[in-house]
């Protein structure tokens, strides 16, 4: 309790609670990150961090939302409730780390502000399966932010407990948004029955607890008895109330708590002035009714908090008929003194039952040990789930762009039809020169068209030397379905390292004229054939390099940002049982980045001319893109 406001009113229990909480948070993150790094060494570090914070946040949210009904159903959980706000604010920090990393990773470094990109990259607002799941998480985050900011008692008093409590019930809506954020995001991406089952189990446990607790409360509210003509309501017999405890009755929709203590009886309004806690489930400690939630105290005879505190409760008249207790249904003004009823029987000397008071440094070891055991169980469960999450992943994204080593490639530079460098890779059996085509891109989520135009200085082609970052070859592995991909096709051919894409290291400075040792290669091997393919539009930088494989629902917005920023779109399609990749260009050979944006990341059907260029294919789209 406090008569004024402090940032945090620390006490011994809160310090221990927070220490345990943050030790648990750090331990979870450490276990998740280390196990992921050990078992999936090539996994993208950002993906590991995003998943570590995301999974921890959803576990913490479930724990937070379970504490309330658990306490209603079993008092043993009350020690977890006492400092729940710190748990909530800690959850907000963890969720913010997940949100911030995701925002920077998927929406940062593009041609739009990340926050603008968040709302405009995936515009499938009318579709259920393609709905921009990130928005659901973002709206939930705003609710969590609002709740974290207003979590302090200053706001509780400023807004009034009823308004504050009503506003904080928005967390249930935020939980629904988070469930859909997961269901329409990672659940659809991973398509994992384990994640699906865990999510359903989480919803089932939480909904089951809340509905059960609500049903119990509903039963209490409906259990009111008829008030007689004089306004008196029968409560119970004296012996039915335990010493220092209360019996709760409902009169005209309001709960009244009748306490028995020191051979006396007093009645007060059941609702604590702090956070509307159930005083009738509290206990008389040191002569004061003590709320089970946060230990706020009131004198039984006048409902006033002891000085210097100022909270006051309504009081009620009581009447005894033999051992039957009756309460007057009309509430007296808050803080009105009512002489307690004296009982003729002497107080029972019952054994003291354990009662937790958060601010008290004198809680019994039994209570604090039980709280510690509950905390250990929660932490152990979370760590076990960290392992389940880790090993249920089956779409591991590798960071293959090698930023540790600058690569130098020489070849013919052109913007026709997209920025590429055609590097000589030796000669074939007939002695003809063999070339490899490397797609050129700029830093972050930007294409290299303007850079190459500037470097060409009006020419169609030029022989240059380019420094940049390619794929790290030690991470390249090719399964049977991938052997025809540009990533695998040219590896090891000739003396020059072969890369399907190259990120130009330092803008125009990285492109320097070089002496041509070999004649300019022809533009295409043959005119191309008209075909129709079905596949998914991807951005090659993320698919092959930065987020390998950057594809699917969770990558849709990032791919839109990359392609919108000028990186050439590609289509991934399957033919003859093998995966193929082709750069998409318009029928006239012009870039079609803007035209493909509405279709990125979803199944499409495209008709056009497929024309090979060295190790790459170019798809000259005819008649637009159709949804499959």
């Amino acid at each position: 309790m406090s008569a004024g406001y402090q940032a945090v009113l620390w006490n011994r229990y809160k310090k221990r609670y927070d220490l345990f909480l943050w030790a648990g948070i750090i331990l979870y993150l450490a276990v998740f990150i280390l196990v992921n790094s050990a078992f999936f060494p090539y996994q993208n570090t950002n993906t590991i961090l995003i998943r570590a914070f995301g999974t921890l946040a959803i576990l913490m949210l479930h724990l937070i939302l379970a504490i309330g009904p658990l306490c209603r159903l079993n008092r043993a959980f009350l020690p977890l409730l006492y400092n729940r706000r710190h748990l909530g604010v800690s959850f907000f920090f963890v969720a913010s780390a997940h949100a911030g990393l995701s925002l920077l990773w998927f929406h940062g470094g593009g041609n739009l502000h990340p926050l603008v990109s968040l709302f405009t990259s995936n515009t499938h607002y009318g579709s259920f399966v393609f709905f921009p799941f990130e928005i659901l998480g973002a709206v939930a985050w705003v609710i969590f932010l609002f709740m974290a900011v207003t979590s302090h008692d200053f706001w509780l008093n400023f807004l009034s407990p009823v308004a504050w409590k009503t506003l904080h019930m928005l967390v249930y809506g935020a939980y629904g948004l988070i469930v859909l954020h997961i269901a329409l995001g990672i659940l659809q991406y991973e398509n994992s029955p384990v994640l699906f089952s865990l999510l359903l189990a989480g919803i089932g446990i939480l909904a089951g607890l809340h509905v059960t607790a609500a049903a119990r409360e509903y039963k209490v509210d409906k259990g009111s008895v008829t008030v007689d003509a004089g306004g008196w309501e029968y409560v119970c017999r004296i012996g039915e109330i335990a010493e220092n405890r209360a019996k709760v009755v409902v009169v005209h929709g309001e709960r009244i708590a009748i306490f028995k203590y020191d051979g006396k009886l007093s009645a007060v309004h059941n609702v604590c002035k702090h956070q509307l806690g159930p005083l009738g489930e509290g206990k008389v400690v040191d002569g004061c009714i003590t709320c089970p939630w946060h230990g706020y105290q009131y004198r039984p005879e006048d409902g006033c908090a002891p000085p210097p505190f100022t909270e006051k409760l309504h009081t009620y008249f009581l009447r005894l008929e033999g051992d039957k207790i009756f309460v007057q249904s009309s509430a007296l003004p808050e803080g009105r003194f009512v002489e307690p009823l004296r009982l003729t029987e002497s107080p029972l000397t019952t054994k003291e039952d354990a009662f937790f008071i958060g601010w008290s440094g004198d809680n019994g070891k039994r209570v604090t040990r039980r709280a510690f055991r509950l905390g250990l169980m929660a932490a152990g469960g979370a760590l076990a789930l960290a392992l389940v999450f880790t090993f249920s992943q089956h779409r591991i994204s590798r960071f293959q762009q090698d930023y540790d080593h600058v690569q130098i490639l020489e070849g013919w530079l052109t913007n026709d039809p997209v920025p590429v460098l055609r590097t000589p890779e030796g000669k074939d059996a007939r002695g003809n020169p063999v070339f490899a085509t490397v797609l050129l891109i700029d830093a972050l989520k930007h294409g290299a068209k303007e850079l190459v135009t500037e470097a060409l200085q009006g020419r169609r082609t030029a022989f240059v030397k380019i420094t940049g970052y390619g794929l790290d070859r030690q991470f390249i592995s090719c399964g049977p379905a991938e052997r025809s991909t540009p990533m695998c096709m040219g590896v090891g051919i000739g003396a020059v390292p072969h890369f399907p894409i190259l990120e130009i290291a330092d803008g125009l400075h990285s492109i320097t004229p070089a002496s041509s040792r070999i004649a300019e290669p022809p533009r295409a091997a043959y005119p191309g054939k008209t075909v129709e393919v079905r596949g998914e539009i991807i951005d090659p930088k993320c698919y092959f390099g930065a987020m390998n494989p950057g594809e699917g629902k969770t990558h849709l917005s990032c791919a839109v940002r990359c392609i919108s920023g000028g990186i050439m779109p590609c289509i991934k399609y399957e033919a003859d049982g093998q995966l193929h990749y082709a750069v998409l260009v318009g029928e006239d050979g012009r870039a079609m980045n803007q035209a493909v944006l509405p279709y990125v990341g979803e199944p499409v059907r495209i008709k056009g001319r497929l024309q090979p260029l060295d190790n790459w294919e170019f798809f000259y789209v005819e008649g637009g893109i159709q949804r499959k």
Partner: protein
Amino acid sequence: MTISLRKAHRIVWMILAIVLPVLVIMAYLFIPS
């Protein structure tokens, strides 16, 4: 809590208990591919 908050809490969770599992199952069944 007051009776109106308890009622709101009860209604919200009854809705969530029905709607969320349905939406999660739909999301799992209708995966874009």
